[in-house]
Amino acid sequence: MLFSNVGHYSLIFGLIISVILILHSIKRLNDNNIILGKKIFYLLFSQFFTVVLSLIFLIYSFVISDFSNQTVYNNSHSTKPLFYKISGTWGNHEGSLLLWMFVLTLFIFIFFIKSKNQPKNYRLLTITFQQIIIIGFFLFLLLTSNPFNYLYPVPKEGLGLNPILQDPALAIHPPFLYLGYVGSSIIFSSSLAALIQNNVNKEWAVHIKKWILSTWIFLTLGIMLGSIWAYYELGWGGFWFWDPVENVSLMPWICLTALLHTIVVLEKKSILKTWILILSISTFTLSMSGTFLVRSGILNSVHTFANDPGRGVFILVFLLALVLLAIVIFFLYQDKNIKVEKKIFWMSKETVILINNWFMMYFLSVILVGTLYPLFLEVLTNNKISVGPPFYHKLILPFLVPFMFLMAIGPNLKWTKHNFNKINYQQILLLIVALIISFLIANLNGVNLLFVTVVIAFGFYLFFVTLKDFFEKKYNISQKLAHFAFSFFILSVLFNGIFSTEFSANMKIGDKIHFDEGIIKFKKIETYNNKNYKSLVGSFEIQDKKNNLINLNPEIRIYNQPSILTSEADIKTSFFYDKFLVFNILKDDNFFNVRYQIKPFMLWIWISILLLATSGLVSFIKKIK
């Protein structure tokens, strides 16, 4: 009760600080004192402190199961393990917004400390824009999703957290994703400030690149964690469903990746300014729309857990306001900024990066249209259609071929003008080797898709070229690593898709079934009573063709609060493949639906994404030095 009150007032206090900060920043814009003193530092720090205080109080309410707090009551239960009580704090709408606020205020604080060498007015404007965003979220939090609503009479027990959210990967997935989303808000504010101050130049590029990189790393890891979770919790062996909520997290990532490439051009050549600003603004807009689409629950998705149209309207209006703000600022200041830019020579690194952006924007548009089109069609014509994996595969896969080809040759081109004297036989040889390998793989395994074979070939080509480049003297390690990781990723995903095998049957205890890959035996079921769920653990023995025996113990959990059934797959991971077994209760009491899958290269998919994130980290560390 007391804690809830303190938490609530603390947030109001934070909101007031925002207003003070904006007024102060605007006042300081016109004075001649170049140094930004302690005042802003203290204001930003106390704002951060108010949010931390609220967050701590909310976590504490969750830990002690204080059911007088409505958020705790709705999302927690006294029998829940401590770890999930804590992670449950951001496993719900209100708490996750508070976490979002925490990251917002933390980042602007860090920005202030880390931007001391930047022009004064640029810093002030960035803070102003960031505070506008913060005010929006404070209002959203306080008006529509207050995490500190008081309940009286105090309920004895809470309603519990959705069991499929009680999971270690999902406990850290939202914080990572939010670090990414919020990072993009700093890029947004900073771009607008730089535009107004006519400050879009090499120095700004060097400075903002660190933010772009760190945002990109968090977003990459955040998406990966969500995907890992889907793989073992939801997935029946899948890890990406082209589900709207997943798409919504991928879109800012693509935009940010394009920005990451283009900012280098600004850094080196001082061109493409307008385009960079557009990318910065789009990244943040996409992050915000993502939040809107997920939080309002208008998407039909596996990941939607709560919806409230009222909240949707608020985010929508707020989003519109921010977009209009960006458009107006663009309209007013863009002409002043852009002088005639130098011409780009066609055979140069600049051109290849432009082409990279071209493809990135294409992929982005495919996902954007695929996600939004059904909504638009339904509103305008009342017809409902589904857009799923086949659509995305058809439109994206063909374009991966030239894309990967350019990824292989692009980095070796020179800035400004590349002299193309002689044909590089080494490259041609690698391409041929790649084609032969993929052809053999496809042919030996009876893959009948010409198309997939070609994509695999170019995946291999990129793989070989980047591998070869590691042995050369002059290279940019983070760039090589990133492109290498991408080829690794594409190959793993393709092989995983092509070579996965599965067997599914209805079995009862004692059954023994022969299938293509061996024999599966359903030995027994044991029942355990855990703190907040009852679990049925199945015991299966699988004998493969080489007579190796493995035991897999998938689980069915019957949660009591709320009462929901979940199936936990048992996955045996090895270097080359995952063995994935899951079972489910059928209505006809004695039988269980058993699904056994062999998923090759699963581990490699995660490793390649980690490599990708590592490449970002390497680049970031180099920048700091």
Partner: protein
């Protein structure tokens, strides 16, 4: 001038997108395909719950002015909730009640009907749920009102409400 037009276009585009998103906020996620209404249902056949003889839907629907087809199961709680309404409807002789017992053992279904009363004139069994899919149903409970030409006049997904009960009464007493 060209610049201004671009801005105006972007401006209106963002308004348009936001407007569509706003509209879709109020859309319901439940979806009933329009075209199923006023369409004929094809004949279906399966075992009778009690006699275990193979029976055809045509034999009943063609003979009666109106038939009500109700997909149900005793394990489905919403079905239990509408049971009372079905009992009420069954008192009216101008409508023929066809039950489709969805994914259930006959023993359980029979003992349930024995306990609370049987509103149906005939019950088809649908052990694997395929009969219902062939009807275009989503699950249990689901109700169709069909005329003697086998045309679907009304379709209700989910538990029947009091209001829908009145609606059905109005149709059959026309």
């Amino acid at each position: 001038m060209k610049k201004n037009i671009t801005y105006i276009l972007i401006f209106f585009l963002s308004f348009f997108i936001i407007f569509i998103l706003y509209k879709s906020l109020n859309k319901e996620n439940v979806y009933i395909p329009e075209k199923v209404l006023n369409e004929k249902i094809s004949n279906f056949s399966s075992k009778d719950l009690f006699t275990e003889n193979i029976i055809n839907s045509e034999d009943f629907i063609l003979k009666n002015k109106y038939s009500l087809i109700n997909i149900w199961a005793s394990w489905c709680l919403p079905c239990r909730a509408e049971h009372e309404i079905l009992m009420e409807i069954s008192k009216d002789d101008s409508i023929f009640l066809i039950g489709i017992n969805y994914k259930e053992r006959s023993v359980n279904a029979k003992s349930f009907l024995h306990k609370v009363g049987d509103p149906f004139d005939i019950i088809f069994t649908d052990k694997d749920g395929t009969l219902s899919i062939n009807l275009g149903a989503f699950g249990v409970p689901e109700t169709y009102i069909v005329n003697s030409d086998q045309e679907i006049i009304k379709r209700y997904i989910g538990t029947l409400s009091k209001k829908q009960f009145q609606e059905i009464k109005k149709i059959i007493n026309k």
